[in-house]
Every structure is written in structure tokens, then in C-alpha cells.
């Protein structure tokens, strides 16, 4: 198979590292070669963060470039728009509808674009936009929003459902396992 490229984008502190570890584990357990690239340090402090997950028979580069992502998992709307050029033509964006204002917007030096999801749709891009926080809250904890997002994308990530679910189970902290699995299941049901 060709290398599958998944990007996880969001705001530092939203839990994208855990999401990337879940996808990395799923890829390895499904028998693929995999590379995951993360961002640490200063950019994590509330900045725009991006994580790359690439899997396939043999993966060389650990990064994903413009026009290469099969799937973009976005924890925040503006980040979905920021990283849109990285989506492959025909790829899918799964985004949380949460809005977190960046500092230039907070201090009035810039404005937060309106109707981001609609504008992306208008470009004929396949986009799924849901309130992952709400789904996670329903499952028992807002902290499981990252896993809910994985559930929402489960049909385009290229993994067998059970492989993905087992990876969630293996990667989340033991005490949060049930909540996360509930969030995953609920999100997956929603997408069908």
C-alpha cells in the first residue's frame, strides 16, 4: 500500500500527543512500518501544534508536506483552516468545532475568520465537523475529546475498528480507560 498520511493539528495542551501515540500503536499492531513526528518545547505553550503520523509498508520521511495528508484531525477550527493546504486533493478533514482565540485575536490585532467549516466545504473538501468536547463530556470527561475525534475519523484512518479500539485501550491511562472507550464508541456510532 501507499504510505498513509495523517496529521493531527491543534493548540498546545489539547492532547494531540496522546492521539498520535494511539494512531502509532494502531499502525504498528496492524503490522505496518510507522513514523510519528511531534513538537515539544516552546511551541507547546498554547501555540499552533502539529503532529504527523505516517504508516505503510516502509516509511522514510517522518513529516507530511503540503498536499500530502490523507486525513487531518483538527482539535480546533482555525487550525483546520491553517493546515488545509496540507490536505491531499480528495482527503478528509475531521475537526472539532471548538474555537480558541489566538493572542493576536484576543488583543484585537487580528480577527477570527467566520464560518470556517462552511468555507472549507465550499472548496469541495470532505469535512466532518462535530463538537468533540460535548461527545466526550457525554461519555464522562471532556478530556476524552481527543479520543472522540479519533472515533469520528475511524472510517478514514484505514484501520480495522478493533485494532483502533485496542490501541486506545492500550495508550490511555488505566483510570481513564472506560471513559475514553465510551467516547470512542459514541463517536464511531455517530459516524456510522
Amino acid at each position: 500500500m501507499n504510505t498513509k498520511n495523517i496529521m493531527i493539528v491543534g493548540v498546545g495542551g489539547q492532547g494531540s500527543l496522546l492521539a498520535s501515540r494511539i494512531l502509532g500503536a494502531a499502525a504498528m499492531n496492524a503490522g505496518y512500518d510507522v513514523k510519528v513526528s511531534e513538537v515539544h518545547g516552546m511551541s507547546q505553550r498554547g501555540g499552533s501544534v502539529v503532529t504527523y503520523v505516517r504508516y505503510g509498508e516502509s516509511v522514510a520521511s517522518p513529516v507530511i508536506c503540503e498536499g500530502e495528508a490523507d486525513v487531518i484531525l483538527s482539535f480546533e477550527k482555525l487550525e483546520a483552516a491553517r493546515w488545509l493546504p496540507y490536505l491531499k486533493i480528495g482527503g478528509t478533514i475531521v475537526t472539532n468545532v471548538q474555537q480558541i482565540n489566538p493572542m493576536p485575536v484576543i488583543i484585537g490585532a487580528a480577527s477570527y475568520p467566520d464560518e470556517i467549516v462552511e468555507k472549507i466545504k465550499a472548496l469541495c473538501v470532505d469535512i466532518i465537523a462535530e463538537d468533540a468536547q460535548a461527545m466526550a463530556k457525554e461519555a464522562g470527561s471532556e478530556k476524552a475529546a481527543n479520543v472522540a475525534l479519533i472515533g469520528l475519523a475511524s472510517h478514514v484512518l484505514g484501520f480495522d475498528r478493533n485494532v483502533l479500539r485496542a490501541a486506545v485501550e492500550a495508550c490511555v491511562p488505566a483510570k481513564a480507560k472506560e471513559v475514553n472507550l465510551r467516547a470512542f464508541d459514541k463517536a464511531q456510532e455517530k459516524i456510522g
Binding site: 513514523k35 498554547g46 503540503e66 482555525l78 488545509l84 486533493i89 480577527s111
Partner: protein, 579 residues
Amino acid sequence: MKKIMLGNEAVARGLYEAGVHFISSYPGTPSTEITEFAAKYDEMYAEWAPNEKVAFEAAYGAAIGGGRAFCAMKHVGLNVAADPLFVSGYTGINGGFVIGVADDPGMHSSQNEQDSRHYAIAAKLPMVEPCDSRECKEFAAMAYEYSEKFDTPFILRLTTRVSHSSAPVELCERKNVPVRDYEKNIAKNVMMPANAKKRHVVVEEHLRQLTEFAYDCPFNKIEKNDTTLGIITAGNCYNYAKEVFGEGASYLKLGLVNPLSEKLIREFCRGLEQIIVIEELDSVIEDFVRKLGYDVVGKNVLPNIGEFSQDLLRKYLLGEEADSSMIADEIPPRPPVLCPGCPHRGTFYTLKKLGVTVYGDIGCYTLGAVAPLGAMDTTLCMGASISALHGFNKVRGEEGKSVAVIGDSTFMHSGMTGLVNIVYNGGFSTVLILDNSITGMTGHQENPLTGKTLKGDAAPYISLEDICAALGVAREHIRVVDPADMKLLETTIKEELESDVPSVIICRRPCALLKGVERKPALSVDTDKCRGCKSCMKIGCPAISMIETEKGKKAVVDPAMCVGCGLCESMCAFDAFVK
């Protein structure tokens, strides 16, 4: 067994498998996790040192003592450790000694973009560079074997993408390597002119042997394909090149990046029609190949600034641009910011209000330079805040209008000597030590002031106040303030700016992200009381925004982000923030 490992985790695994005994490091992105992961193995001693020079020398001492030793640092940390680095090749080692240094092309979390390969050349030391997690483990482990064989320290060079990318790694058992005997050897280990002159000859001989070794060593690899295009590369650039050229090129992948083998390169280049050298940052390999008389494609086409990617190679080498879509709106940038509840916020707001010149330093608090706070004039390197302020004040006489700002860990790293300089040379600058009880930016590492070691054991209490007093600052001018109390902080700073002796203000409040720090309930805004004056916006808290309501513009607090620190309450003249 296979495990997905971060490059840095794989280096730690390599140390474990090589039977390493001793690790001493100072944290620095992107190198930090090597030592954190290494500390999880009970079989290895691991510690945080106050700075990279101390870490290097501790590891060097362990190696001379017969143990297998390691130290890790980021590229700028190697500048701090450069002094012992240059001489360590002269004495050689006893137990194997590997120095891990992580460069940061693209400056994800650094103040400059230096290429550490120059250090290997200048210090005449061998340097190996892995391209992924698998090689991180293998190269780290193998380096010990050759360090002992050639009686020289080895440098393991990493870059951000290698350190912070994960891939499956095959795990092996730990080798049981006993600590070697130690024998006193003045001629070899005491570097004074008479001995060093003889040892320089040995260094050159080692380099000659290593150059021979470079011809067929297990670190280098040639991949011959049926083509006349040859690519010479190293590290992660090899992966980018493979992504773009696949089997359409032959590859000389250099794992040993210093010294380079003329014989190996000549052999690889034989019969090739075009040679491309692909390396991030400076033209180190390219310069060597050009000197051999080959006309190559390299930095005449590729940039010497920033990080590479497959996309960048396609653009510069093949002229191909990616196909992508974008919405028409301008996307506002999202720079990193001080976290909600950050103890530094009140300090920088107060400094901005006072309009003083601020000599800054390296840490989370460098973000005090970002709008709307903008309360910083300079940031150079670890420790420079205090020493540079001294020079600034000596020429300008602005002791009453300027301060240095430095974190607790950075003060221990290299701030103390600057403070001594102020006291010794009759300066009377004011220094703010932002003591948030942890090394923050790199992700919460213990330091000599936190009372805990890297392994989690209790450490003796070291008092910041006592250190400053011992360095010569008068007790009554060592003030301790909670920066959340902005009024008291402001008066204290004003008082110390007016004094004509050196002073230290310790702004003490733990990092809001630390475990055990109480997270209070989120505040909310009483929209009847809020007048939309935007006073609260001056502190640059990411949890507060202004929104348009039917009653006009009002502040609003994001309950998911607010930690209830109450700084906004003290900004509001109308008591609009409520618990």
C-alpha cells in the same frame, strides 16, 4: 520485541543496552527526553547537573574512572560545554564516553540555528548521526565500542526531527559491562603544556585511524541503484531524499559525519554523472566533497537556513510545487503564550507598567517579550540577563530604570557568576529571579533548587536567598515577593531600583502546570459590572476575550482555560470578575 520509540527514548535504550553506568545532563529541547527516559532504568545512574559544562565534566570524570558515561545537551548547551570538549580528545577516556547533542534546524525551540558538526571538526572528535529511532539506538550503543577502541569521546549528533520522531525499534538485552580499572597516568590525563604537546600528536594519530575506519565502518552505508545520479547525505535528510528519489538515485548515507573518508567518497562517485549533497544547515559534507574536485549540486540550490522536508527537495531540486487548496481569509498566527495562571504574567505586566529596560533570559518567561506584554529588551543566551545588564548600566548609568529577569533553573545554570560580577565590580543593578520551583520550558525537570533529583529522590534544600547573600548581596536587599500580589511587587521593585547597592527580588510562585498546584474554580464576568474598558486585556491572558453582547462589548472568561489565579480581578476597577 519491537516498541515504538521517540528518537530520544531510543538513544536512552541504546545507552541501557550498551551497559552505560553514568549519565549527567542539563535539559534543553530537543535533547531533554534522552536523560528522562534513561533515568527510568534502575541499572543506570542518571542526574540533572546545573549546566552542560558541569554535566560534561561529571560524565568525563565517570569515564576516566572506568565507567561508560554519557551526557546530553541541546546545541547551545555544547557551547557551554565547549571548554572541556576540546581537551577531552587529548586525554582520551577509559570507559566509553558519548556526548549527545541535539541541533534544532528550524528553531522550533531555540535562540539560534547552529550546526554542531563544526564542533566535531574543530575539537577533532568523531561524530555519528542517526537518521531515525532504530539508528538512534544502534548508533548510541555502537559508539561505546568504538569510543573505547579509539580511546576518544564520540559525539552523537541528533536533530529535532530525529529526536522527536517515533518509529518501531527492536529491543535487545543489556550488556553487562564492568567498570574498568583506573590507573593514575599524569602524562595522559594532566593537560599542561608539556603533556598536551605530546597528546596533540596522539589526537592527530587517532584522527588518522578514524579516517581509515570511516572507509568501511558500520555507521556508513552505500545503496547502489541502476542510475548515474548519486546522493551524498546524512541524518534525516537521507529519509527526505529517499522519499523524493526512491530507487532513482544511488545513496551514500554517512552515519559517521566526522571524520569523512576521501577513499569512500571517491569510490561512491566513480561513474556518476550527477552528485547531489543533501544536508541541513551548513555545507559541511559538501565542502569536503568539493575539495576532492567534484562539481556537486548542494548549497548553490538548497538553503542553509531552516529545516528540510521532501517538499523542499522537490521544490528546489525538481522545481515541483504541491497541489493544495486554501480558504480566502487571512489566518491569524497562533504564537505560544504564557499559560493561564502563569506566575510570570504579573511580573511582566508590572515591569511594563514601570517602563523599565528588561534584560531577559532563556525560559518560558522569554514569552514576556510577546504582545501585549512586550516587557523585554534583550534575550541572548542562558545567564546573559544579569551579566549583560551590568555592562548596559556601566555605560548608561540606568541602574534605577532597568532590571534583569532570570528563572530559577537558569540562575543556577549560569546566573550566579553574573551576580558576582555586579557585586565585585561595584554595580548596583536589580535582578529579578523568577522562581517557579521547576525547570519549566523544557517540560518540568527538577533542578538544584527543587529539593528533588532526576530519579525522584529527596535532595538537600538549597536556598536561593542564601546563595545570593553568599555572593555578596546584602540580606535586606534580597526580597521575596509573590508575583500574584502585583501591588507589593511594584513597590518592592521601585524600592530596589532606588537603592544604590546590588539587589535581588525573588518572585516566588510555582508554575501553574505543576502537579499539586491548586487549580481554583474559573472566574466569570458580571456583565452588568463590566464596562468593556479592556483593562483586563493588558495582561495577555489567553482565557480572557472581549465579545460583542446586547449590552455592548464585554469581557468573557473561557471556563475550560481559567485556573482562577485572580490576576484579572486585580486589573478590574469595577469588580466585574466573580468567583
